[in-house]
């Protein structure tokens, strides 16, 4: 750079002189240079804009496709939910309606019982005694001073007292009898009450199911109508499902790792302890991994055959085949679980033998057999239980796996759309920035040659003024000529 300077000791002056020399050339080359800058900017911005448009269109297409998938999947799931609810309702109705005639008969019997008892318990007034009339007649007799009459009346009172006592006793007995009848009412009332409560519960359950079905049908309608609120709800639901299923799978992965660790050491006795598949991966570890993966696979088949998941296209197989598949998967899983139990025991033995050997090699006394009590067997038992339980626990990983796959398609699709849009936006911004930078470069070029440009403008203006003056001068005689012509006319 310094070699370009005319006076290397004074670079500023050198630059100014160089600029002064270059300005005429720059002025002459202005038009092609501006054109070059313009074309260069377009050459950069056009592909960028095209790219941006392509990204936007691809994002739109992908979004449309995702929408279709989302609605289809959401619709299918909702249909399944409604189907299940309808099945439940149908089972409920079938079960309860089957029992309704019997229940009604029972209810009617109970009501009849209650009615009969009610009738029997009705109060029957004692018949008016005939002797009341006789007494009424006797009461009309005036006692006076006749001793005979007095005696007769006294006897009558005595008799009446006796009779009164008897009647009252009879009346009480009748009441007691009615009370006992009413007491027998109670169980029937209770039974009737319980039956009616059961009916009410069933009806309430049906109402709940109907409400759920109504809600789901509403959602299904929104999906069929492809409403945006339904789309948002489905995307949110898919994201939540994916997060939860990923979390569950992470936990399952932890379980699988424990399972792997449990069987990798004893597997070395089966496939060879010193064999390596790669530089750091032992054959025993691969074998253990294969066992764990087989268990998971059998779990997948089991869940599939039990219709808990729908990962494989098994709709074409018969029910008998499905049952066979279920049994085969279950048996293999059981066998593998049994193998794991054996391996757990073997692991414990290998570790114990290794510890004993190391103690011997180190010069220590070997572990005494007498010290091995039931407490020391707890870890072995724990390992055995773990070995048997973990394969079955792993089998359930099929459920979150299915959710993860189904929701992952939607969530990843949405993320891809977002990425494509982001890329499109970035390209568009870059294109705009490039265009503006090109404009700025053109202006900068003009700034560099401002002096000749100012002169050019001045000359152009001067010429324009000169031309205007000439035009004015030419116009005046014409106008005058016109006036004269008018006057002449």
């Amino acid at each position: 750079m310094s070699s370009l300077f005319i006076w290397p000791g004074n670079p500023l002056l050198s630059l100014l002189v160089l600029l002064a020399i270059a300005v005429p050339f720059l002025y002459v080359a202005r038009a092609p240079m501006q054109d070059f800058i313009h074309r260069l900017t377009r050459a950069i911005t056009n592909p960028l804009r095209l790219g941006s448009r392509w990204f936007a269109q691809t994002a739109y297409r992908l979004q449309t496709r995702n929408r279709e998938v989302l609605f289809a999947q959401g619709g299918r799931e909702l249909k399944l939910t409604i189907d299940r609810e309808l099945e439940r309702v149908s089972a409920l109705v079938e079960r309860d309606l089957q029992g309704y005639p019997a229940m009604q008969r029972k209810l009617m019997d109970e009501i009849t019982h209650i009615e009969e008892d009610y009738k029997r318990s009705a109060e029957v007034p004692p018949p008016p005694p005939e002797w009341v009339k006789a007494i009424e007649e006797l009461a009309k007799i005036k006692a006076g001073r006749d001793g005979v009459v007095e005696r007769i009346l006294g006897d009558i009172r005595k008799s009446l007292d006796g009779i009164y006592q008897k009647v009252v006793a009879e009346y009480r007995r009748a009441y007691e009898e009615r009370h006992s009848i009413l007491k027998r009412f109670l169980p029937f009332w209770r039974a009737a009450g319980q039956t009616l409560s059961q009916v009410e519960r069933n009806i309430t359950g049906l109402q709940d199911s109907a409400a759920k079905i109504d809600t789901n049908v509403g959602r299904l309608e929104a999906i069929f109508a492809k409403r945006s609120d339904a789309e948002h709800a489905l995307i949110t639901s898919a994201s939540t499902q994916m997060f939860i299923s990923a979390l569950v799978m992470l936990i399952a992965f932890g379980g699988a790792y424990v399972n792997f660790k449990l069987i990798s050491l004893p597997m070395s006795a089966m496939v060879g302890g010193g064999d390596y598949v790669t530089e750091s991966l032992r054959a025993s570890e691969v074998a253990a991994l294969v066992i764990v993966l087989f268990e998971t696979l059998m779990g997948l088949f089991l869940m599939e055959s039990l219709r808990f998941t729908n990962l494989f296209p098994l709709s074409g197989i018969t029910e008998r085949m499905r049952k066979n598949l279920m049994w085969v998967s279950l048996i293999i899983l059981l066998v593998l679980a049994g193998v794991e139990v054996a391996l757990a025991v073997m692991r414990d033995q290998i570790i114990a033998a290794d510890v004993a050997l190391k103690a011997t090699l180190g010069g220590g006394a070997p572990v005494a057999a007498a010290e091995v009590g039931w407490v020391t067997k707890i870890p072995t038992a724990g390992q055995m239980i773990l070995g048997f339980t973990l394969p079955f626990a792993l089998a359930f990983v099929a459920i979150p796996l299915e959710y993860c796959i189904n929701s992952g398609r939607i969530v990843l699709g949405a993320l891809l759309v977002l990425t494509l849009r982001g890329l499109g936006f970035a390209l568009r911004v870059t294109a705009n920035l490039t265009r503006e930078a090109g404009k700025l470069l053109g202006v900068l070029y003009d700034v560099l040659i401002f002096a000749p440009l100012a002169i050019e403008r001045w000359i152009v203006r001067a010429r324009a003024n000169g031309a205007k003056d000439e035009a004015v001068e030419e116009k005046v005689p014409l106008r005058k000529l016109g006036a004269r012509t008018e006057e002449a006319i």
Binding site: G274, V277, L293, L311, I350, D354, L357, I405
Partner: protein, 221 residues
Amino acid sequence: MKPWIALAGLSALLLAGCGANVNRTQAVYILVDTSGTYAKELTKAQNVVNYVLGTLQPGDSLAVGRVKSRSFTEKDIVAKVTLNRDPVQANGQKRIFSGEIATFAKSSQSGGGSRYTDITGGMMQGAEFLHETGARTKTLIIFSDMQEELDYKTKRDFPIKLEGIRIIALNVTKLDTDNVDPRRYTGRLEWWEQRAREAGATDWRVVNDLEHLERVFSNRG
């Protein structure tokens, strides 16, 4: 369709498990000097053998040879073993080997040392054993003061072959003459190193701190 991918991965793993097998076995030959005054160091040698035994994996090989007046013979291999692939059986083999070494140590200490010290012959015998095992990592441990003394009939002044073998000189004790002139000790070790490297040994190390043997045997090569 994702489970089919898992199935394919599983099959690939199975194939990998059945097919390619990387040789990561290790062979160790421990050469124990039983000559002269060094015979009293045999207890330490026994500990080293036990330590090495503890680090070996199924499939590995171990042999213990002794250095006598003339050591280039199979008779000088005290005990040798190639561990079974089954860890339980390998455990039993280790136990038996350890017993054999204990018996050897006891008998050597009571029997007295040999008159001469043929380290070169022992190394050649060790190299032969190590090459025969076909192990990937071959280690020759020399438990000696590295002072070779040969009778006039024994010829060892020719180049030896130790390709692919790493050599560890353990517990190289200083002789009385080394105390007088330490240059003799360093010169002796330098001579052995040069000889080992010229013979094609991959590594040469001198370890006198037997408390930290794990630093020497930490990696399998």
